[in-house]
Amino acid sequence: MSEGLKLFLSYVVSGLVIGNVYGLMALGLTIILGVMKIVNFAHGEFYMLGGYAAYLFSIKLGVSPLLSIVAAMVIVFLIGAFVERALLTPFYGGKLDRPSDYALLMTFALSVFLMNVMIPIFGPYQKSAAPLAQGSVNLGVVQVGATRLLASLVAILLMALLVVVLKRTSLGVALRAIAQDRDAAAVCGIDVNRMNPVAFGIGTAMAAAAGALLAPTFLVYPACGTLAASKANAILVLGGMGSVKGAIIGALLLGVLEALGVLFLTPGYRDVYGFIVIVLVLLIKPTGLFGGQEI
């Protein structure tokens, strides 16, 4: 194998590894979008909360890294469900003309609040969670850090778990029914309003898992979610809004595109590529790669 091809493949592989974790993030956004028809602009801040929870459990309390991730997901699920019930559900009471606009602004305000409230609590400095594993693994073309690889595997596991829940359980069927048609779901006896906090909780727990998984590698600080959120947003557009398959494939694509962008273009602009992807997709195929498919 030539050196050039090897380099190319090594970037593709590391893009795929990180893409899985992005996928987790985007999947959470997709669930929330499907059920509630809003983009959660505070998604990055739930990612950040997940990172801080992992740091607290694994470093401060000495819990094992994998258990810390579970703990982070549970805590953020509760926070997310509470936030939805307290702040977003009231908009849909029928008093407002454009409830989803207000819900969108609310998630934006929430993002500003969460990001800034962390500065006095944890300080502006970067924290790191305990690594999941030591050393690195040879994948043939590239050496990947064991923590990063394990994070990727856990992300795949969680995504698979979520897909099974969505396809096989009655909760999943209810969520998918609401995503298809809220009124029809209500007619069929699904308590649609009680599913909102559940969907928001699951979505934010996914973001928290991503945050906790990347906490050892990318470090945790109050604004660390902004970047992750902009990636999840790009994936959402790339994959087609509300499509689970699209979110996962879109995430892997973005991971690879970014890695190749770093290889062929300049690394400084890595985070602008997401925007370029959004622009190109919307210009060429405004519904995304898998647009129109239900979750």
């Binding site: 979008l33 028809k37 809003i38 983009v39 602009f41 307290a86 702040l87 009231p90 908009f91 407002l96 454009r98 989803s100 606009d101 207000y102 969108l104 602004l105 609310m106 934006f108 305000a109 929430l110 993002s111 500003v112 609040f113 969460l114 990001m115 800034n116 409230v117 500065i119 006095p120 902004t226 902009s230 947003n233 790009a234 959402l236 557009v237 809004m241 400084g268 602009y269 985070d271 602008v272 997401g274 925007f275 370029i276 959004i278 622009v279 919307l282 210009l283 405004p286």
Partner: protein
């Protein structure tokens, strides 16, 4: 005294107060007033796009910072007069707004908001990274608009600019164009079926409001003397949102009241130090939750309930 006469008297008092403000308010509060008026320009124009036309945008701060950068670069690199620089700032904002509008034409709802947010983030990244042009996070030093250190000429300039902006916005909102924009907000498809050329009106709203943001930003850069990527952050956008929400989205007076209230409130909140932004976020959150119509709606509700309570007494 009839309520009309009261209103007229209040209007005259307000006008006189505004025209004499720098002579009795002191340097510090004049400074705060200048900032408030800058925000009146940026928030009121954003309100035309979001509150009246229903096109959610998170890119207003990108346009105001673009105006600031364009004007500053013209003045410092090419040595043109700041006034000409400001004209270029307006044009830069309007053109960028037009382009973002073209990009967003095919998008609706969620896609639309996401695209503007992504644009804003990408623009801020570019400001940070293109340090040869923008000096990165250090920002660019600008040229003052007026010689000397007096804030009085700046105050009257921004007062005039805000008045012009509000006048134009008021004319538009009351004109058939304004009604068309509101029709687009209420139902795009219906408006389009009724014969409204959606693209033309949306692009008009986008470029006009972005141009106005550019004007505000260009003025501010020559007043403060520096323009940095901090202007284009999400925190800065949150400030704009807070003002519009605080006053009342989709009303003419709301953003004006909101801009002034939030700016003056912010001055008092600075004592909170590092808790400042989180307290601010919390305020917006609670405002949205408990009074989504803004201060204006709260005030109207209070007045209505006061009038109801007086009613039985009169009978």
């Amino acid at each position: 005294m009839s309520s009309k006469a009261v209103k007229r008297a209040a209007g005259i008092v307000l006008l006189v107060a505004l025209l004499t403000l720098p002579f009795w308010a002191g340097v510090y509060w004049t400074h705060v007033s200048i900032l408030s008026l800058y925000y009146v320009i940026v928030v009121s124009s954003w309100n035309l796009l979001v509150g009246y036309t229903g096109q959610m945008s998170f890119a207003q701060v990108s346009f105001s910072s673009l105006g600031g950068y364009a004007s500053t670069i013209m003045a410092t690199r090419l040595g043109v007069h700041p006034v000409l620089g400001m004209v270029v700032g307006v044009a830069a904002g309007a053109i960028a707004g037009y382009l973002l509008g073209v990009l967003c034409l095919r998008m609706r709802g969620v896609y639309h908001s996401l695209a503007t947010l992504a644009f804003a983030e990408a623009f801020r990244t570019v400001l940070n990274l293109e340090y040869k042009v923008t000096r990165g996070s250090l920002g660019l030093l600008s040229v003052p608009l007026f010689p000397g250190t007096s804030k009085v000429p700046y105050y009257f300039t921004v007062l005039g600019l805000a008045a012009c902006t509000l006048f134009i916005l008021d004319r538009i909102i009351r004109s058939p164009v304004g009604f068309t924009l509101q029709a687009i907000r209420e139902d795009q498809t219906a408006a389009s079926v009724a014969g409204v050329p959606l693209a033309r009106f949306k692009l008009f709203a986008f470029s006009l409001t972005a141009g106005m943001a550019g004007l505000g930003g260009a003025f501010l850069s020559h007043y403060i003397g520096v323009v940095t990527p901090d202007w284009a952050t999400q925190n800065a956008m949150a400030f704009i949102l807070a003002m519009a929400i605080m006053g009342g989205l989709g009303t003419f007076v709301g953003p004006i009241v909101g801009a002034v209230t939030v700016q003056f409130l912010a001055e008092y909140l600075r004592v909170l130090g590092r808790y400042y932004m989180s307290f601010f976020g919390l305020t917006v959150l609670l405002m949205l939750r408990f009074a989504p119509g803004g201060l204006l709606a709260v005030f109207q509700n209070l007045r209505a309930s006061w009038a109801r309570r007086r009613q039985p007494a009169r009978e």
